[in-house]
């Protein structure tokens, strides 16, 4: 799942990795859409984090369809 933080809370895109690997067109489209959003947010300065229960949080530079959950955080500045 890709979760993008915004003023609306967070927008979510989900995909089924197994179905995508099996060639399911809908699952592949969902993965592509998530990747497009990830890249678009990165261009705006957002940072992606791979967040999985029981594992250390990991910053990621590229979209990873095998991730259980990716959280996109908007650019931050000193206040």
């Amino acid at each position: 799942m890709l979760r993008v933080m915004s003023r609306r809370g967070d927008d979510r895109v989900t995909w089924d990795e197994q179905k995508a690997l099996a060639g399911d067109p809908e699952a592949i489209a969902a993965v592509r859409e998530a990747e497009r959003i990830f890249t678009q947010e990165r261009t705006k300065g957002a940072t992606g984090f791979r967040v999985e229960p029981g594992k250390p949080t990991q910053r990621i530079e590229h979209f990873d369809p095998t991730a259980e959950q990716i959280v996109m955080v908007p650019r931050v500045v000193g206040g």
Binding site: R7, R8, G45, V51, V71, V73
Partner: protein, 136 residues
Amino acid sequence: MSFITQVLTTLGWIVVALAISPMVWLIIQPYYKGWSRAERRAADLLRDTLTPEQFRQLVWRGYLEVPSPTEPQRVYRVPRTKGYVQVIENGRAIMRLCVQPVECLPDADVVVLHKLMIEANEENYLQKANKYVCID
């Protein structure tokens, strides 16, 4: 005599009500604030990201403590609502940090943002923050 007893009983109930009202407010506040859709979604993400223990700490103490991944004696104290992040080293507050997202986010999302950045991007987080050193 019965009038005095009644007055004392009423005063006793007022004292009890005043004593428990902050606790009741702490319990219902997340639900009250979570009425809006954005707050509710942000609260979902917060619950998914924190352990039950961390979530309890945030609700009851009003802050979340995030240990530094690089400095074992350092802890970041992230407030539940808007405010400075305190840097605690060896139990003493040494610095306050001000970091905010460029986009307006619900409070719960801001807590998650701090947590993720500290845990996986601490160097960049500290670079971006405005720092206010605490002097005794």
